[in-house]
Amino acid sequence: MKACSWLVCVMAAMLLGMSAARAEGAPLPGAGATFPAPLYTKWIAEYNGKNPQVKVDYQAIGSGGGIKAITDRTVLFGGSDAPMTDEQLKAAPAKILHVPMVAGPVVMIYNVKGVEGLKLDGEAVGKIFMGEITKWNDPHLVKINPGAKLPDADIIVAHRSDGSGTSWIFTNYLCKVSEHWKKDVGNATSVKWPTGIGGKGNAGVAQVVQAQENSIGYVELAYADNAKIPYAIQINKAGKEVKASIDGVVEAAKNSVEEIPADFRVSITNAGGEGSYPISGFTYLLVYEDLSYLKDATKAKELLKYIDWCVNDGQEFAKDLHYARLPEEMQKKVHEAIAKIVFDGKPVLDK
């Protein structure tokens, strides 16, 4: 019976542990892209700190997961860097709004001993991921990297194993720079990769590249920066060498579209202009335009208050994490779009 009392003790300790954790505030669960996750977690930490009545949460499970979750309504908001396709939008039970949050660059991270400031152009990236360039000392790479000590080693390609908006942005770029890629592989959140290893999430790709010598992969800039993994200088459409930066992304956004379409679904890869960074994109928060299905007006209101906060006050945190904030004009449009979201036929946000 002594053992029984031990069991009771353990159970009591568990209960004590549970009650010790305070649990106030309505949960607002979200999930999706890993691309903006560093910024989203920062936002959530700030916002939850100031608004104890809610508990916003975001799980970085990949854009594919985010799109599925919002379609199945298992989350209140999804995250994706890939705009949903028309087919996907049709499959959803109601109309989904794409809310652009920030823009960011995708960088080519690499792990090659003794090589700094690697330069890559569209052709090189396309051929490497196609499995056509297989050695680091390939003539084409040597040609665009004069003076670099490129080793006679196999290139190890790292890509995403999950459905990913970062992959979407990257394959969108590859489709524009490589006919071969466009024909054989295409542009999607998950594709049939011709070669390479799969890593889970942006973090997973960074891990593969860090652990694996002579590898190359693509991640959002914040992931390369945090893990201190070197990334390549891209040669853009205008033939200029550009290092990934906020300015480069803003420039790309400016040069790729005259006017942002009403549903905000755009691609800004391989943009013209001298300063444009070629592999960049917006990241979207996905939310239903009619929140009546939540059957909870306060929840709907808290959710939109959070989203609106991200689009306005939250933007100031973007810069520290190397994301480009929304251009002012766009910010206004986004705010208007959010204001149109309804609950039981009435706009949720005041004013």
Partner: protein
């Protein structure tokens, strides 16, 4: 005068018969109650199979058996063929067995026949503990140590030597990926080693002494005699190997973390690949179109079929050993009353007396050829080497966790919440979340498991149904945890419309059931028959006997089993990925998504971010230490209690 006693007697009889009726009612009720536990188990297993087949049905209709031999896995074009993952599963698990089986047998031989007597129980206990170490621990160690080692040392070495041999060379061709089939096979080998070793050791114990003694009497060397033992025990060892295979096939997290997640099959062991389990872990959560999800559930069904067949085969093999033994030593097997514990006690001293050849009676030395003498020495040395290597590798893994964990662990880990990337934070909510999930699982798994155990031990007659029931309990124990996750997703997450703590807790409960059922049955069987007979002879009902006499006698053992199973499921990751998903604040409402220690560790461990990595190691240390200390403490506390010691 004569009427009074008659009336008194009839009163007494009437009272007694009423009492008897009540007692009988209670007995029947209790039997049904115990049976309900077994019924729930069977129902769950049927549900598992049913849900998988139902979920996969459209895909089964669409692809049929073609699914199993086409190799195109294309979620863009919606074309699915599972050949690469099936091959990946087979290659990794078979390769892991090629590595693990000789080592396991050598270690088992060392424990039973070579090593000093005092070492055996200690090592056996350690090996049991190692089986409780969470899968993500092996995965994380693989990423941190094995993958770079293979790429920097292993691959260049193999490429310079074996790769030049024709035919075999093809296995080592191509770029040297560290995240590879080879890496995951090695990690799997380390993971199945304890399983195979323990079962082999048990099998070796059942080999009659005559086999070995006879060989020695004919002048055999140690190795020649041992060969006879191994040949005698071949079916049992085959069973052990099959069990190991079943575990390797269903292993998810460690493989997912190091196999490189590529849905294509390549002959080269250096190339990345994918197994059925890792495919599910990677893609289940994001299958956005129904056909995609159906194809994945089809994969889960195939995986379940694989493990079902292997678990049944393993049981059959081990069962054959019993048959064989019966025919070999008919006399000793008949003693039904003899408890297992007593038998062990009896056999041990005899067994150990000829652990060393030099203790054998001196006889005229038999002349052996040089080769025989050499192979004898070689095999003994190999046993020593395998033992030292196995213990060394396992100690290295634990040491590495300890080293990385201690340097990253601080108070913040227990008091803070996960936060933005790059800032040092904690996992307070995850620890609480894991406790809640385990508590939820126990609420479900403990009663069902214990009742099933009671039914199997006390009520089950040796008929076909109960044979089937026992088989199903074993099969359920061998179900890969990722499949249980798929089931919980289909039957709880889908109808509820969102992932929740309940779904995760039930998945854990499902995993606990068969383990608890088996320990309960074993422990109740250890209670001598005299207890039952004595109690019944004193006029107690069967219900009374079980609840008041047998159960208390076995309680220490049963509680040990329960607590050990709790420790084990606390380290589970795979069934939680799509059922509880995670949450970064304090959540105690099980209807919401829930944080769990293992989920957070998995997320942080698959990254390159330094603060995340160190947090993951801290979490790993806490998890592993909890599981290990818990197991050790439970053993120590309950060792000298209850029936076992009396």
């Amino acid at each position: 005068m004569s009427a009074t006693p008659t009336i008194a007697t009839s009163f007494l009889e009437a009272a007694q018969s009423a009492k008897n009726r009540n007692r009988r009612l209670l007995d029947v009720a209790f039997e049904w109650f115990a049976f309900s536990g077994a019924g729930i188990m069977l129902l769950l297993l049927a549900l598992l199979a049913g849900v998988l087949i139902e979920g996969a049905w459209p895909a089964i209709q669409k692809y049929g058996l073609k699914f199993l031999y086409t190799s195109d896995w294309d979620p863009v074009e919606m074309n699915f063929g599972a050949l690469p993952v099936i091959l990946g599963t087979i290659v990794t698990s078979v390769l892991s067995l090629v590595i693990a089986v000789p080592a396991s047998i050598a270690v088992a031989l060392f424990l039973e026949r070579i090593g000093p007597k005092w070492l055996t129980p200690i090592v056996a206990f350690m090996v049991e503990l190692l089986a409780a170490i969470p899968s993500i621990t092996y995965g994380f160690w693989g990423v941190a140590v094995l993958v770079p080692f293979i790429q920097k040392v292993g691959a260049p070495f193999l490429k310079a030597t074996v790769a030049k041999v024709p035919v075999i060379g093809a296995l080592f061709a191509g770029p040297a990926y560290g995240f590879s089939v080879l890496a995951s096979s090695i990690v799997l080998a380390i993971m199945v080693l304890p399983t195979i070793t323990l079962v082999t050791r048990d099998v070796l114990r059942t080999v009659p002494r005559e086999v070995e003694q006879g060989s020695y009497a004919l002048g055999a060397t140690w190795w020649q005699a041992t060969k006879m033992v191994l040949i005698y025990a071949k079916l049992g060892i085959l069973g052990a190997i099959t069990l190991g295979l079943a575990r390797a096939v269903g292993e998810t997290m460690a493989v997912t973390m190091i196999i490189g997640n590529r849905n294509a099959f390549d002959l080269s062991l250096f190339s990345p690949g994918q197994t059925m389990a890792s495919l599910l872990a990677n893609e289940f959560l994001e299958a956005d179109k129904p056909e995609y999800l159906q194809a994945l559930v089809y994969v889960a069904a195939v995986l379940l079929a694989f493990t079902l067949v292997m678990n049944m085969a393993a049981r059959w093999f081990v069962g054959m050993v019993g048959e064989q033994k019966k025919s070999a030593r008919p006399k000793e097997e008949e003693g039904d009353l003899k408890s297992i514990a007593n038998k062990k006690k009896e056999e041990k001293p005899l067994n150990t007396s000829y652990r060393n050849e030099r203790l054998l009676p001196k006889v005229e030395p038999v002349w052996h050829s040089r080769w025989v003498r050499f192979s004898n020495k070689l095999m003994r040395v190999l046993c020593y080497v395998s033992f030292v290597a196995a213990i060394g590798i396992l100690a290295m893994i634990l040491g590495y966790v300890l080293y990385r964990g201690v340097s990253s662990l601080n108070m913040d880990f227990f008091t803070k919440l996960p936060g933005p990337i790059g800032t040092p934070t904690g996992m307070r909510n995850c620890i609480v979340g894991t406790l809640i999930l385990v508590a939820l699982g126990s609420c479900f798994g403990v009663p069902v498991g214990v009742l099933t155990g009671v039914y199997l031990s006390e009520y089950a007659k040796p008929n076909k149904f109960n044979h089937f029931l026992r088989l199903m309990v074993d099969v359920m124990a061998g179900t890969p945890s990722i499949i249980v996750g798929v089931m919980a997703y289909e039957i709880i997450v889908k109808p509820m419309g969102k992932p929740s703590g309940i779904a995760g807790g039930l998945a854990l409960g499902f995993l606990m059931c068969p383990v608890i059922a088996r320990t309960t049955e074993e422990m109740l069987r250890l209670v001598p028959r005299a207890f039952r007979e004595g109690s019944l002879a004193l006029g107690s009902s069967k219900y009374h006997t079980i609840v008041k006499v047998i159960f208390p006698a076995a309680s220490a053992g049963i509680i040990t089993g329960i607590l050990l199973s709790i420790a084990r499921v606390a380290g589970e990751t795979a069934p939680l990925i799509f059922t509880t998903v995670g949450f970064d604040s304090d959540v105690i409402d099980p209807r919401e998504r829930m944080p769990a220690l293992t989920l957070k560790i998995y997320q942080y461990a698959t990254s390159a971010e330094p603060t995340w990595i160190s947090q993951a190691w801290a979490g790993m240390l806490v998890l592993v230490m909890c599981v290990l200390l818990f197991s050790v403490a439970v053993r120590l506390v309950t060792r000298n209690q209850g029936f076992k010691a009396s």
